[in-house]
């Protein structure tokens, strides 16, 4: 059985690859390359899998919220993804790379009995990225 919990955070970013010329960056990333960055209200769905324990839950909601709160939201919410998140220092903070970084941060810190199985993140309602854990 799977359980999915939704979290939200707001962050700014700028898509730019220093190894490429300004023209190439502009062509590749369009408005996302504007020099001072911009932000999104990200929606993060985290899915865990397991069997319900004696409490009838596969995961304790508070424990999951504490872990995601400490390891993800406190580090990303109201932050600049390019400057404030070491995991994204060397790669452009596309939502693909952000999803991958979040999965890595969660896998490293995971202490819950239910298995982490999926990370799904939307940058806007129109762009959604999903990664199996």
């Amino acid at each position: 059985m799977k359980l999915t919990r939704r979290y939200r955070f707001a962050a700014s970013h700028r898509l730019d690859v220093p190894a490429l010329s300004p023209e190439e960056n502009r062509r590749l990333f369009g408005k996302c390359n504007n020099p001072y960055g911009h932000g999104h209200d990200y929606v993060l769905d985290i899915t865990v899998e397991g069997a319900p324990d004696d409490s009838g839950q596969i995961v304790n909601r508070r424990e999951m919220d504490l872990l995601v709160g400490e390891k993800i939201l406190e580090r990303l919410d109201h932050r600049d993804l390019n400057k404030d998140v070491p995991e994204l220092e060397r790669v452009p903070p596309t939502t693909e790379n952000l999803a991958s970084a979040i999965r890595g941060m969660l896998e490293k810190a995971w202490t819950l009995p239910a298995r982490l199985v999926r990370v799904r993140i939307s940058e806007t309602e129109r762009n959604i990225f999903e990664l199996e854990a």
Partner: protein, 137 residues
């Protein structure tokens, strides 16, 4: 091919194990253990797997699926206090997990047939929390 039908019901519940004390229930279930209960607008998405019938072009008759959902889930649960009015939640804690399992158990006998079977029950407790149950032991 998968076909999914959605339905809603509103119900109240308390998540607390009567054999545990109040502090322990609060530790496990948080505010959901408040003794007089609270409610949710549940959304259930029922997914049926099958092949489209060569004559009707349908995996499952949607009208029949709606009737099954109404009879087995919506009518017994809508605007009810789950712990007090809907078995087996007088005996087991109506967490979203247990509720999804119970909905599966109620629906499957009416849905499973030669060319179609119940594939998944997705139950949203709120927009921010849902479970998927596919009959796992």
């Amino acid at each position: 091919m998968y076909l999914t039908r959605k339905a809603e019901f509103s119900a109240s519940h308390v998540c607390a194990n009567p054999t545990l004390d109040e502090a322990e229930n609060r530790r496990i279930y948080g505010a959901a253990s408040n003794p007089n209960g609270h409610g949710h607008n549940y959304i259930v998405e029922v997914t049926v797997e099958g092949e489209a019938d060569p004559v009707t072009g349908m995996v499952f008759d949607l009208r029949e699926l709606k009737e099954i959902l109404n009879r087995e889930v919506i009518e017994p649960m809508d605007h009810r206090f789950l712990n007090r009015e809907v078995a087996p939640f007088d005996k087991i804690v109506p967490t979203t997990e247990n509720l999804a399992i119970e909905i599966w158990r109620r629906l499957r006998p009416s849905i499973d047939r030669e060319n179609a079977r119940l594939k998944n029950v997705r139950l949203y407790e709120t927009a921010d929390l849902f479970v998927d149950y596919g009959g796992e032991a």
